[in-house]
């Protein structure tokens, strides 16, 4: 009698270590079918190319050509992915948003334990988005992830992205080792690498933002020709303007008095959807709502002095 093979494959409850590589493959395939150019950045592709220390990833990062963002998003939604509610709405943070360097759209899926972070730009590249994408695309390579070809930024592109990610939040603990790792990795390449990296920085408008790394590499000094206002915002952002507390404080300082009470109320009590946006799968019980609100308030109190200083600096540096 023949055996029943109907259960030889069952829907998998994915582990994070499986979800991240499989999601790379899924997105690569969808982009291919939609004719959208994408490049995976950070994560397993950066590790494979030697631009980031080996470290488990919790999400999938990719850079999408600006004109393909909507098509890719619709393809993802047909597969059950949905846009994660932003923590703050554009209406809430009209003034602070320019310091946040809004750069990506997050997608989540009930059956996948990882997020997709679809970037339409990468903070620190101050040239226009399409110029940056075209330069990185021109230099692209491919890495096998989950036994599937994943188009990705090449070593120099990944190095720039990992470095900019580190330099954006220099106060975070993992940033300095990542920057040192990138510098060591580039030094180990052939002698033309530093010159090529400098050229990439020039084209993508990141000579100033990558300055600490370029100095570590003893790259020749060149003039930056980026918009000074963009550079100023980047510098404010580096001084902790990205922290949520600082953003709300910047916004508060710019709003008329009559709008301040409402803004304070919204800052203190986020809508439930926004509160749980980074906690997929956590039951929306009263207890969890209270716990997440308390965590936010505790974080806000801890960052309040630094936030006030950063908000003042942002205002002082206004042209």
């Amino acid at each position: 009698m023949s055996r029943d093979w109907s259960n030889l494959a069952e829907t998998a409850e994915l582990r994070l270590s499986e979800a991240v590589p499989l999601a790379h493959a899924l997105v690569a395939r969808l982009a291919e079918l939609e004719g959208v150019r994408i490049l995976f950045i950070k994560g397993p592709t950066a590790v494979a190319l030697g631009a980031r220390p080996p470290r488990a990833s919790t999400d999938v990062d990719l850079l999408c050509e600006p004109s393909g963002l909507e098509r890719l998003g619709m393809a993802l939604e047909r597969c059950g992915w949905r846009r994660r509610t932003p923590k703050n709405t554009a209406d809430d943070l009209k003034h602070a948003t320019k310091y946040l360097f809004d750069h990506s759209v997050h997608y989540i899926h009930d059956e996948w334990p990882c997020d997709l972070d679809v970037h339409f730009n990468f903070p620190g590249f101050l040239a226009p988005d399409d110029v940056v994408f075209d330069e990185l695309w021109h230099r692209r390579t491919s890495v096998e992830v989950a036994h599937w070809p994943a188009p990705c930024a090449d070593l120099l592109g990944q190095a720039a992205i990992v470095a900019l990610h580190s330099l954006r939040d220099p106060q975070l603990s993992h940033t300095s080792p990542d920057l040192d790792f990138v510098a060591d990795s580039l030094r180990r390449q052939d002698p033309t690498t530093v010159e090529a990296f400098l050229q990439l920085a020039i084209v993508t408008g990141s000579v100033e933002t990558l300055r600490p790394l370029l100095e570590q590499l003893d790259a020749p000094s060149v003039e930056s020709n980026v918009d000074p206002e963009l550079l100023r915002r980047w510098q404010v952002r580096q001084q902790n303007a990205g922290a949520s507390t600082t953003s709300w404080l910047i916004e508060l300082r710019h709003r008329p008095w009559r709008q301040k009470p409402g803004l304070v109320r919204r800052a203190l009590f986020l809508p439930t959807g926004a509160l749980f946006s980074a906690h997929v799968g956590l039951p929306r019980t009263r207890r969890n709502i209270a716990r997440l609100q308390l965590q936010r308030w505790s974080h806000a109190v801890r960052y309040l002095p630094r936030g006030v200083r950063a908000a003042r600096r942002a205002e002082e540096q206004m042209p």
């Binding site: 259960n7 030889l8 494959a9 499986e18 499989l22 899924l26 047909r78 597969c79 989950a146 599937w148």
Partner: protein
């Protein structure tokens, strides 16, 4: 074509992760209807053997005596119906 003479291989439209403990595959022929699948022990055994194209006889091999030839044929056909392997 009989399974003994045909050559079986992994479908080129499948991404997978094998961490040594278990195998999870994702068919990408039609990604909008595809979901990650965890292979059973027998299917995992066959999947790992198909690292390179093999005939059913080669898939069975000396170590797979616990699956009779007819059962192996059905298993390969079931995997083919799921789009995970193909037969040339």
């Amino acid at each position: 074509m009989t399974p003994g003479g045909a050559v079986w291989s992994r479908s080129p439209d499948v991404a997978f992760v094998d961490d040594g403990d278990r195998v999870v595959v994702l068919g990408l022929g039609e990604p909008s209807v595809s979901r990650p699948s965890l292979l059973s022990a027998e299917a995992t055994d066959v999947w790992r053997r198909l690292e390179r194209p093999l005939t059913a006889r080669q898939v069975r091999g000396p170590m797979n005596g616990h699956i009779d030839p007819l059962g192996l044929g059905h298993l390969l056909e079931a995997l083919q119906q799921l789009g995970f392997v193909r037969c040339d």
